[in-house]
Every structure is written in C-alpha cells, then in structure tokens.
Symmetry: C2
Amino acid sequence: MLLLKHCKSLTRVGPLKTLRHLRVAPPTSLGAVHLWRSNSEEQRSQRVHNPSWKHGLAGLLAGAGAVLAYGLYHSKAEQAATITVQTVGKESHLPIFTQEEVSKHRSMEDGVWVTYKGSVYDITQFVAMHPGGDKILLAAGGALEPFWALYAVHSQDHVLDILSEYKVGELSAEDQQRQQAVEPSDPYSSDPDRHPVLRINSLKPFNAETPPELLSDNYITPSAIFFKRNHLPVPHVDPALYRLHVDGLPGGILTLSLDDLKTQFPKHTITVTLQCAGNRRSEMNEVKQVKGLNWGIAAISNATWAGARLRDVLLAAGYRPDMAQWAHHVQFEGLDKDVTGTTYGASIPLNKAVSEEGDVLLAYEMNGEDLPADHGYPVRVIVPGTVGARNVKWLGKIIVSADESSSHWQQNDYKGFSPGTDWDTVDFKSAPAIQELPVQSAITQPTGGSTVDRSSEEVTVKGYAWSGGGREVVRVDVSLDGGKTWQVAQLRSSDKEQTPTPSPPPGQAWAWKLWELTAPIPAEAQELEIVCKAVDNSYNTQPDSVAPIWNLRGVLSNAWHRVKVKVREDE
Amino acid sequence: MLLLKHCKSLTRVGPLKTLRHLRVAPPTSLGAVHLWRSNSEEQRSQRVHNPSWKHGLAGLLAGAGAVLAYGLYHSKAEQAATITVQTVGKESHLPIFTQEEVSKHRSMEDGVWVTYKGSVYDITQFVAMHPGGDKILLAAGGALEPFWALYAVHSQDHVLDILSEYKVGELSAEDQQRQQAVEPSDPYSSDPDRHPVLRINSLKPFNAETPPELLSDNYITPSAIFFKRNHLPVPHVDPALYRLHVDGLPGGILTLSLDDLKTQFPKHTITVTLQCAGNRRSEMNEVKQVKGLNWGIAAISNATWAGARLRDVLLAAGYRPDMAQWAHHVQFEGLDKDVTGTTYGASIPLNKAVSEEGDVLLAYEMNGEDLPADHGYPVRVIVPGTVGARNVKWLGKIIVSADESSSHWQQNDYKGFSPGTDWDTVDFKSAPAIQELPVQSAITQPTGGSTVDRSSEEVTVKGYAWSGGGREVVRVDVSLDGGKTWQVAQLRSSDKEQTPTPSPPPGQAWAWKLWELTAPIPAEAQELEIVCKAVDNSYNTQPDSVAPIWNLRGVLSNAWHRVKVKVREDE
C-alpha cells in the first residue's frame, strides 16, 4: 500500500527522476519480477520492509512502471491483480546498440526500432497491430517516452507486456544519459486547475466526468463540472494574438481575430448537449475488455453556448452553394498539438456546416462567460447533435474540403463496428466516422448498490435522455422489474423552478431532457432492477442489452441503463 | 371446411344477401351458439350434414358473421378457435324500436344508438373506448353497415362480441326492410385488379404485401407487387379534369392541372423506400393482441418516383422563408373519401416540405410509368424517409398551415406509445405523429420453418435494411445462433447485375439496402435461429426484442428479426 501510494504521488509531482536513475542501471538477471496489487497488506509489507537488494530494486522498477498506469487508470484497480514485468531479466545477454544504430530503423523496409527506458525494441511486426495506427511510425528510430508522455493510454501493464516481446537489445549507457538530458518537460504541467468533484478517468490528457447525481441536478451543467475530454495538453492562447484561419475556398484564406469573430458576425446562442462517443464505455468493458477511457454514465453534459455561426463565417470567406459539388466536408484543426506538431483534428459534413438549421457555432462563450481553458478558450466549434469529438476546441483552422479530416481521430478512431469485429480483423475504412449519435438515456438516481426503504413506499428515479441529429426525446420508459413492465417518466427541458423551454423546431432539439418518475415500491420486491430507455421523435429506441452492440473501441454504448437497488424492509 | 370456404367466397362475390334475409328473421331463443373452427373435419361435417333446423340457421348466421373476419383476416386462423355468437338468443325479449326512435340518440347527452343487421345497440359507454376515436359518432342514430363497409377492420369476431354487449333491442321489421332497400352499393366495387401473388391482409380497403422472397429479388420493387396500403376505396380520377389546389398562403389558392405540374416544374426523379408504420405488426400480435392489419415483414417496398418538387410548387404558390414564423406544417388531402365525404389526410413538418434536401415530391410517375391506380394516380406525395401514411395518394389539396392535419390518421392513429399504455389509458395527444421511421431490417430468405441441408455446408441469408430520415444503413449484423455471435452482411444498393448506386449525400439516403450473407452452417447445430439487425449512419440500431416496444396500435415494430430453420443432417 505504501509503495503504491507513494509512487503514485511521485509520478505526479516529479521525483520520478530518482527512480529513473535506478531504472537505467544495466540490465540485471533478476528474471521476471512480480508485483502483487492484491489487498493483502502482508504481502506488500514483506516486499517493502524486507527487501533484499534485488527485490528492492525490482520492486521499485516494477512500481515505477506500474504506477503510471495506476495513477492514470486507478479506476481499473480491480483488474489485473498480478503484474508481470518482464523487461528486467530474460534479455540479459542481448546486444547493446547506439542511438545512431537505432536511428537507422525508421521504416517498414529498414525495420522499425524504438527505445524505451534504456532498452531497444524492434516493433516492425507490431506496426500493423497498433491500435493507434500508423502514428506509431512517428517514434521510429527514437524514444517512446515523449509520445507516451502525451498519450498516457500507453501506460498500462498490457502495453509494457506487449513491448517486452519485441526487445532486441539495450541502448548504450552514453545514449541513455543523453536521452535523459533532453527528456521533455511534462507537457501537461500548465493544464488548468479543475474542480475537485470531477471523477478523473485520465490525468494526462485530462479526462473526467461529472458525478451522476450532479448531472441531473442541473438542467444547464455548470462549466466547472461539465465533463472534460481532452486528447492533448491544454494549449495556452493569448486572446490578443489569436487568429482563426478559414481555408479551402477559392477566395484564399480568411483570417479572423477573436474580436473580428465577436463583432463582425451576429452572436447566436443555443443550448447544446455534448456527449463523448465513449460515454458508458465501462458497461462494454463488463462484457469484454475494450480500448479507451473507462467512462461511466456521465461523459455527457449540457451548456448554453454563444458565438458566430459557422455558416456565416463560411459565407464571409467566400463559400457559395454551388461549391457543394466538390466540397463535402469542413475540417477543423485545434491548437492542441502532440510532440510532432500534429494538431487535434476532425471534420463534419459540409451540409451540416452550411445549413441554416444545422446551428453549428464557432463558440466563444459557455454559460454566459468566456470559454474555460478546458473547453477550448478562446474559440471552439459546437456541432449540435454530433459526437463530442467533432466539437474541436482551441480552434485554429477551418478547411473546406472534398475530403474528411485525415486525422487519426477521424480515420482510425470514433467509428462503430460489429461485435464480431476485433483488433485482428478491423478495417477502419469499412465504417463511417461517427457524426450524429444514437438515442441515449441513463439513470442518475438512485445509484447502483444503494438502498431504498420499504417504509418510504415510493421510489424516485431520475436521469437524462438525449438523441443525436437534433431528434427530440419524446418519451422515457422506466421499469422497476428489469424490463418486464414499464411506466412513462416525466420529462423536463429546464430547471424545475424555471419556465419550461418551448419545444424546438423539428430536427433542432440539441439539448437533453431530464426525467423523473416517482412510483410505488413493488410489494414483495427485495431488490429493484431499475431500467430506463428513451425514444426520440424518429421513434428510434435504445437496444435492450450491451453485448450485441459491443465494439472494440467501446463507443456508442447506449443499451438500456440498468441499476440494481436493495429494498430495506421495515424493522 | 366446406362451410367456411364457401362462405368466404360468398362474402366476396355477393350472395351474402341471401344470408341477410335469414338473419333478419325475428329473434329466436336458440341461446348462444358456437361455431368451432377447429381442424376436426368430423365436427364440421356433423354441423353441415346433420342440421336440425335450429342448428342450421345458427350455423349459417354464425358462419356469415364469422366469415367476413375470416375472409379479411385469414392469417389469424390460429387464433380464437371458438367463436361465440351471442346475438341470437339471450335478448329474445328485448323491445322493438323504430328508426325514428333510434335517430333521437345521436349524442353523448341523448345516448349514442346504432343499428346493425336488424338489432339496436346503445353504445354510449363504448364511445370513449373506440379505437377509431370520435369517428364512431358519425354513425350515431343510424346504421353501422355503410361505415363498416368502408372500414372492414370491424368485421372481426371480437368486434361483434363487443357490440353484442350493448344490444338494447330490435329494429322494427318495417325499418329493417327500408334499410335493406337503401343499402349502399359496395364502395370498393371499382377498385382495380391486383396481382395475384400479393398476400392480402384486407380486401376492403385493399391492403396487401409482397411475398418476402420477391422483395429481396428486386432492388426496385415492380409496381404490381409493391405493397398496397389503402385506407378507403380507390378514387377514379379523370386526368383531364384533375386539379391540385395549394392553399394557406397569402397569395390565395393556386390551382394546377396535371399538365401544369408536368410542364411548369422541373421533373425530379428519386428512388425512395416506403414502409407502412404497421410493417411487422404480426410480431407484436404474438406478444399481445394489437389493433390493426396483421402485416408480416413485407409492408415495405422500394420504387423510383418522378414528379415536381413540393418545394418548387410551394414557392410558385407564394411561399417565402419568412412564413416559417407562423407556418409549421404542410397538410395533404387525398381524393379518397369515406361515406361522410371526409377525405384521407395527413401532414408533414414545413421544414421537411420546403427544404432543398428534403426531396419531397408531387409524384406522377412510379418506376417510369404513370402512377398505378393503387398508388395514387394521377398524383401522390412522396415524403422520403417518412412513414408511408404521410405519402398521401390521389392528392387533391395542399394546405400550408400553423397546425398539423386534423385527420384521424394524424391525430389518433400512427403514433407510438409505451408498452405500459393500453386503450384504457392512452392519450393520443401525448405522443407525436410518426414522421421519420426508426432503423429497420428483416430476413427475407430463408423463411421461418424451412430446412437447410447439412450437406450444402453453407447457408445464404438475405434481407432488406432501411432507416428513416435519410439515414443510410451502414451495416447489417447477422447471427445464426440467436444473437450470441455476429457476422457482417454484404450490402448492395442496386440489382446484382447493375452498377452500384453511388452513396447519397448525408441525410438523403432514401432507399433501402438489400443484404446477403453466406456462412458455414455451424457444426452440431440442429436448428439455426437466424437474426438480423441493422445500424444506420447515426449509429442507431434495432432493439433486441419485441415486448419492450410493444404498443397498442402495433406500429414501429423494428426489433431484431428472427427466423428459425432446421438443419437436415445427411442421410
């Protein structure tokens, strides 16, 4: 316990370097070392308090390796009770390479070599299997560390396991020292402070969700507790220097300052729910492990956004309807960058971008104030009815194009597949990029595992419901008996004390509905299996169960939401 | 068998009058009489060949009553094996009323009385329960026959059962004779001939579906076998005299001839799948009886339609975008009428009607020829992506309005409800009229109950998939084991020998996809439970099971389609 806790805090505040010095010691022949993350205090105490030199080093090494994963993925603590670190021993007689030699292996033809913590790996065979696609080649011939510092998703035990299989040697001691000297500073060190109530799924990049009970307490989610989903470090943008470039149209590039955006275009205000494609991924993980952040039910929030309409900006930049013959997409580039300078990027269909009813905004306000740093200050795109990933933050560039964004997130991520498709068979080109999301709902209260008193006679169930594409949720059915019988919940489109929002025009229902049902606790029931399902105005409904919509990336998790609560009988 | 078959044909060709004469004989005191529809030939023979006078009359009476239902609902032959006809006996001492007395009961205040086949019924208490709503009051104070001649849905055993509960007396012999003298001619007598391969669900009005195997044989469904869904008799329209009136706009009524429509507006051609809201209703009936035609999986077809764009016609009639402030709907009135002169009617949202991408047509061609009589000759509305019921045939009038159509079919039919809502609790105002339909797919081959040979090693599964609102079907998953494992089917958008249709712009995928999967027959399996489910480009998917989407009208039946086939082992 001490070791883990201690290392976890080390990871965050810096003294990890101390551990690194240990780590770059020449390979020993300890053999595979195991670190148990069981709850047995005894096992851990033995390891901490009675270390042989070998065990002590091994423990620290393993701890340091594992701890990144632990720090960033602590919600997965129930998984993988035993961590095998194989990098220390089995390759003790492997050759030593210089950085110069490693650098020669930067292509599939020459082989793809990388270094990590003083070891050299030939990952040529792994390139095709990399979940992140060709991006892995960016690291070819060099160190993995700066990339993994950006994409902390790599700091998982199974990633280290995979890597260890490809080890071919050690980096020369000299080059190891050189690497440390240029080791990148933490790119996340200037990320903003966040509200402590947020439930963190990943620190770097920062990803966190709202506690569910707070979600349904507020029709408009306060910005501080609006779910955060960053792909990269938060860029710091000086509003005076901010420029937005609009490219791809015959008239050349239009460049706008923040002031231009605010003064030259009408300000348009809309309430829009954003949802991450991975919302409720944890339920897919329960069926079978998927790749991605382990979101609960609260990677969704609702805010009021204000800004210029993208349509107006595109028209000002020279867009004309006849251009729809060749232009089919509008691409967005963020100002958030990885180590190679690649920015976050995504695109939406042109007809959504230019339609009067599409309501796509270049937003500079969230809930009546400047956008917070985590939400794209000073300008982000708001694409109502569309998956969060296309609502590009810290917007730097807009490109009208015949093609979709070529970004990793558009091409090789955020797509849905059949439950029969896994990483060995997936063809990312075979599925369309997620744009509009399907109908969704979840129960925010009561929470799973809680108790209701028989004496209260009634139970109140609360939740949210939303659908993509501007489709309005028209009904939420709630069951207390696992889906056998159903009652209709009350819907609302505002906070309780406020005047209900009038119904939006068809196809422009961008905001969620909160819902509530108070119903008698069924006689005899010792446990309630509470279930909800929503219906939108295209009468699409949620699928009954998770397994048949399981997909390797764990996106689009919108099966009926189920929560079990115990009924406590009167004393 | 003889009796049933014979009576069935009688119903269609006319000699039912002979039976009516028997039926208007003064009430006897036979008591309740039972007609068995079991498969026991013996029972029926006894009844037919050894009649006492009493049994003979009773048998004929019951047969005539039951046979209407049998003729029109023969697919329900497995239900209601025993039919109780209670109209003959128990009320033998009920009073006799004149038509004049009956006519005084035409309102809820004075009571609502009707006559049917010589008996008088006080249905005041039933009015609120009438599935067709207030329409029942049209018959108040008079005979039901002319209404039931139009709405043959009443000719079901349980309708007669319900009616019998409200019997209060007999109509005087004189008035019965008078009624027969003015008995309406069959309003369906001039309906067109139909293709004999169609599977008939109702003769009057005519409703029939395509045999499923023919459905997936043709990407474009031939007009003759395109499913037919009429609400009223087919009107006969002289194309030279045809006039279309466009009303509700400030400039007054625009009246167009068929020639105007063809020559004054560009001709626009699109391929559009139409689906009845009740497609696959029979699967809901298996969960719990619903009201409506017992459609199988083929109340859906795909055709190429050509005509003027509604948008162009509305602009010619004076529509301007600023009118969207008050105008929210476009209503359509058909030229098909009931006995009271009420026309079929429906409406769609204005934004669908006027949008360039909405592709709403005033179609005068189907598959390259004039519209067939059953499909709306000379002009019908085609509302792509929208439920069949809004695609008004034999179009007489278009009205731009602040309000939806006030028609029965818009207000009190074609809406979806929770499975917990039944006729005693339903509030039709609480649900939106169905417009866009949810994602759908079904298996057309093999058919349920068929057999595949183990020696063939593989099984080929075929079907269709479609989604409303222009959402393109992007994937169909097929399972051979009841949904445990899934394979991805091949999709196609044209007939096999033809060039594939290019992908439509986003939001304009109006036509279905046909799909096919050839897969090995699983070892050991003695039976395959074949299942399909489609996913559209909003990643909406079909719900797993029927019961949780059951609704009292049996609409929107889009759960996974399941077909069981036996595997015949090699000899």
